[in-house]
């Protein structure tokens, strides 16, 4: 972290800008309105830079405020009302108590979301191993890198249709099992209340595997090769290199992959569930996200749907924050 210009009076370095806590007197001067071209060149540069920054950030901020934040606040308001889409009556926390104390299936739904969380480390471990294997430049690693990301191009609807067919009684999985002497275990994987959620999670893991592998491949590329050579010279085996050298350095990338997968699993797979199981059998594959849709679009309980949406949003913010702190991302924000 060298600062080539930090000693000169004229140019403020970007390091100054990027690290607000390091701001010295320049930041104080900045608060005093002064014309450009005034005595202190450094504060003028700094102010001009901040002004350009605001200008650059403005269109995005305005659009997000109008299209994401406004309806979010409206939904927060409606979660305290009974609302049929046209008229709303204030009812306080009634939607929330209704949701958690009077919804018969809520226990099952929350449990399904817990299963989504528990499935993520398994998927990430597999992706990390795959990324590490490509980094060993095993024969065919370039082709693998091309293939692995491919499910990212498929929509949840398409994935749901394909896996719905694959996991059906007369589908591809059962055909493979009959071919390999496992005929007794064949069944309608999505038709059983006990197996539908695992089947859904495998499909979800399948779909997220590519993006997580690519995140880890890009993460591995940031690790200087010397480190691996050093570990090798020290006599560390592949597994130990992975565990003691790669994993600690990859914390940020593991955190990113976890959050990306969690956000998808909690807020992005409505289409998959809708096509594959419609939340069934019973409530065995209904997640909180799918229940928001059910409450709003099937049952017309917009207030309850809004309340559930708020709960889901709060959960995402908290979990992402916690993961961020653990993986050390917070220092960069």
């Amino acid at each position: 972290m060298t600062q080539p210009f930090s000693g000169s009076s004229g140019a403020a370095t970007f390091t100054d800008v990027a690290a607000p806590e390091d701001r010295g007197p320049a930041a104080e001067v900045q608060r005093v309105p002064r014309r450009v071209g005034a005595r202190s060149g450094s504060s003028a540069t700094f102010r001009r830079r901040a002004q350009t920054g605001i200008l650059f950030a403005l269109p995005a901020t305005v659009l997000v405020a109008g299209i994401m934040l406004l309806p979010l606040f409206q939904a927060a308001y409606y979660s305290f009302t009974t609302w049929n889409g046209l008229t709303s009556t204030y009812v306080g926390f009634s939607s929330y108590t209704q949701l958690f104390f009077h919804t018969v299936s809520i226990g099952q739904i929350v449990e399904n979301n817990a299963w989504v969380v528990l499935s993520i480390p398994v998927g990430l471990a597999l992706a990390l191993v795959a990324a590490f294997l490509t980094a060993t430049r095993a024969v065919g690693w370039k082709l693998f890198r091309k293939l692995v990301f491919f499910p990212v191009a498929l929509s949840w609807v398409v994935i749901g249709i394909v896996f719905g067919a694959f996991l059906a009684q007369d589908g591809g999985l059962n055909a493979v099992m009959r071919g390999s002497g496992l005929a007794r275990l064949t069944q309608d994987w999505l038709g059983s209340p006990a197996l539908a959620m695992p089947a859904l999670l495998v499909t979800f893991g399948w779909a997220m595997f590519g993006i997580n592998t690519i995140i880890f491949i890009s993460g591995l590329a940031t690790i200087p090769p010397d480190l691996f050579d050093a570990a090798r010279v020290d006599g560390a085996g592949t597994f130990r290199v992975l565990l003691h050298v790669v994993l600690p350095l990859m914390r940020r990338f593991v955190g990113l992959a976890f959050v990306v997968t969690l956000i998808s699993g909690f807020t992005g797979i409505f289409g998959l569930i809708y096509v594959m199981t419609s939340g069934g059998p019973g409530f065995s594959t209904t997640t909180l996200e799918f229940q928001v849709y059910q409450e709003a679009f099937s049952l017309g309980n917009f207030g309850t749907a809004a309340a559930l949406g708020m709960v889901l949003f709060a959960m995402m913010v908290v979990v992402t924050g916690v993961v961020g702190v653990i993986s050390g991302r917070s220092s960069s924000i």
Binding site: A60, F144, V157, A175, A221, P224, G271, G309
Partner: protein, 286 residues
């Protein structure tokens, strides 16, 4: 500093050289990772290939047939719907890039009071469950007369896509060394010129990632298009999702339609994957 050191190495992530010349046994052991990668590839591709092949075979007898594909084409105007999806996706990608990239640059390199908050808001917005805000959104857009228009629908997608664009470009710009832009500023370029001439070309991989993710997001979305698009014009996603309700209830026809609708996004992925993959590592190598 580690960042600079990597540039002298090979352009690809050469991390561990596990292959060593030597005995046949060692060479065989060196193939171990390849075998694992092959198995993973088969697991990844088999369900899709199996389903795609199934659309050409009559259920039960297994005789070759094009019947399911005819059913799919008869049920929905496939090419018109795909054209609508493509137009929508391109408009959204263009506007998200136009708006999110300068914002990401500002949050990374032109920080102002409150820029940290803007970044946090962008991150938080990525976690909003779309279902929970779509109804207020819909009512707002009805009031503005934007429901049932292509531009209104595009606007919803743009607003929803910007947070990810800002998040990714901010993180990307942060990883570009300050010394590069300092050099440009010493050469007399202003903040805007620094952005256009120095940062934007370097950020191409990040922009490619944002563009591809946005394109796929719009192409693959269902709910937003269902609510906001005009009745007479629909996206391929909506067309497909409507199939089970029509006379085309056959699973294979549904898979046929799905496979066809997946061709453009897969092509986009194939064309841009050079950017996507080498792009993700470029920030570390340059």
């Amino acid at each position: 500093m580690a960042v600079q050191a990597a540039s002298s190495g090979p352009p690809t992530p050469a991390v561990v050289a596990s292959r060593r010349p030597g005995t046949a046994r060692a060479r065989l052991r060196g193939l171990g990772p390849s075998v694992v990668l092959l198995v993973i590839s088969i697991v990844l591709l088999y369900p899709v290939i199996d389903a795609a092949v199934g659309t050409f075979l009559t259920q039960g007898t297994g005789r070759p047939t094009l019947g399911y594909w005819r059913q799919a084409f008869a049920a929905i105007p496939v090419f018109k719907d795909m054209g609508v999806s493509a137009l929508l996706a391109i408009v959204v990608v263009a506007f998200v890039l136009l708006v999110a990239t300068p914002c990401g640059y500002a949050l990374a390199k032109l920080r102002f009071r409150g820029s940290g908050v803007v970044f946090l808001v962008a991150v938080a917005c990525m976690m909003i469950p779309i279902e929970s805000i779509l109804i207020p959104e819909y009512i707002n857009f009805v009031r503005l007369g934007l429901v049932g228009t292509l531009w209104g629908t595009a606007l919803v997608y743009i607003g929803m896509g910007i947070p990810f664009g800002v998040f990714l470009t901010t993180n990307y710009f942060r990883n570009i060394p300050d010394s590069l832009i300092e050099a440009a500023l010493v050469d007399g370029a202003g903040n805007v010129a620094g952005f256009w001439r120095v940062m934007l070309p370097l950020a191409r991989p990040a922009l490619a990632i944002v563009a591809v993710m946005q394109f796929l997001g719009v192409w693959n979305d269902l709910l937003t298009a269902l609510l906001f698009m005009p009745q007479s014009v629909q996206t391929i996603g909506v067309g497909l999702a409507g199939l089970p309700g029509t006379h085309v209830a056959n699973t294979n026809a549904l898979v046929a339609g799905s496979v066809l609708s997946a061709v453009p996004p897969v092509l986009v992925y194939l064309v841009f994957q050079r950017y996507l993959i080498s792009g993700l590592t470029l920030g570390a190598e340059k």
